[in-house]
């Protein structure tokens, strides 16, 4: 169990850092969704299944979707300005 805990914490650190260092917002969203998934795994391994339920939908789906839709809207505005 301790091996899994260490592994998942390292994984969270790596994916979190990767999200921060990704500069292109579109690529960042994909990383963010993956980070949300890894966080879900972490909550699950640390025996918080109810937090994992919320995290898998909010962190891995809803937040990335909201960012994606915002980017799409900004793109439309940009095209209109040209």
């Amino acid at each position: 169990m301790i091996v899994m805990q260490v592994a998942v914490l390292l994984f969270v650190a790596i994916t979190g850092t990767a999200v921060v260092f990704t500069r292109n917002p579109l690529h960042q969203v994909i990383g963010l969704a993956f980070y949300g998934l890894v966080m879900t795994l972490m909550f699950f391994i640390f025996q918080a299944p109810d937090v994992a339920f919320s995290q898998i939908v909010i962190g891995a789906v809803v937040i990335p979707l909201m960012v994606l839709l915002t980017l799409a809207k900004l793109k439309v505005k940009e095209q209109g300005r040209k």
């Binding site: 109810d50 339920f53 919320s54 939908v57 799409a72 209109g80």
Partner: protein, 259 residues
């Protein structure tokens, strides 16, 4: 301020933060060693006092039900705020039909595998969401968790279909009503206790048999109401975002259709 100075400032600040961080870590209890008495007390008492086997939900919806009421209204207010910001403005025009791809881009059709897997998941997700809401007091889960699971159902529909399919399975008006009923119902449940001469949000409903779905008194009721509020609130949020991104356009920003 040039680049070098900014880096120096960051390094100085970072070093200071790191020192305080190490100092703070020094005082923490060992990993996995729970120091406080409250968790153990709750674990020992929940089943006897509230007939609930999930202590987390019992704490959320009963022992500290007033805090959760505040959290629920934080969610309610933020959804309403986003809804207000993303409303249809006076000079907005509606795209008809809405286009969920960039102008002039030819998107490959959704693969059959995704459509079949997604549609097969719709019913299990709804059932699992309802189960999580209804069994909040028995197994891990509850209103918040079940609510977000239920709210992911329209997204699965969007994933296997398009925006029109999402639009058909959701209703802005009904979702708003459900959100208001859920949020208001929680507060009303608390007020009813006052009419029985008990403090606000006291568990006044008979607790029932431990392990039954209909047990734990107001914990079950509040869990269901929270589930309605969270699911409806997220759906309202997604409808607003989708409408802004795909439907509403300022004059001059309309999609240029390919001939």
């Amino acid at each position: 301020m040039n680049h070098q100075m900014r880096t120096a400032l960051f390094l100085a600040g970072g070093l200071g933060f790191f020192c305080f961080y190490l100092w703070g870590l020094h005082g923490l209890p060992g990993f996995g060693h729970y120091p406080g008495p409250y968790g153990d007390i709750i674990n020992a008492l929940t089943v006897y006092q509230r007939h609930a086997t999930d202590a987390v939900t019992a704490v959320n919806f009963d022992y500290r039900g007033f805090d959760t009421l505040g959290e629920e209204f934080i969610l309610f207010t933020s959804v309403m705020g986003a809804n207000l910001l993303l409303r249809k403005q006076k000079d907005d025009r509606e795209e008809d039909p809405p286009l969920d791809r960039a102008d002039g881009r030819i998107v490959p059709p959704t693969s059959d595998a995704i459509r079949v897997a997604g549609l097969a998941l719709v019913v299990p997700i709804v059932v699992f969401g309802l189960y999580t809401v209804a069994h909040g007091q028995l197994t891990p889960g509850g209103g918040f968790q079940g609510g977000v699971i239920l709210a992911s159902m329209p997204l699965i529909i969007y994933l296997c279909g398009d925006y029109n399919a999402f639009d058909r399975v959701t209703s802005h008006l009904l979702s708003e009503i459900a959100e208001a009923v859920g949020a208001g119902g929680y507060a009303v449940t608390g007020v009813i206790a006052i009419f029985f001469g008990l403090p606000f949000l006291t568990n006044f409903i008979p607790l029932g048999q431990t392990g039954d779905v209909l047990s734990s008194g107001t914990i079950f009721v509040i869990s269901v109401l929270t589930g309605i509020e969270v699911a409806a609130g997220l759906v309202v949020l997604m409808i607003s975002f989708f409408a802004q991104a795909l439907v509403y356009r300022k004059p001059g920003n309309e999609n240029r259709r390919l001939p």
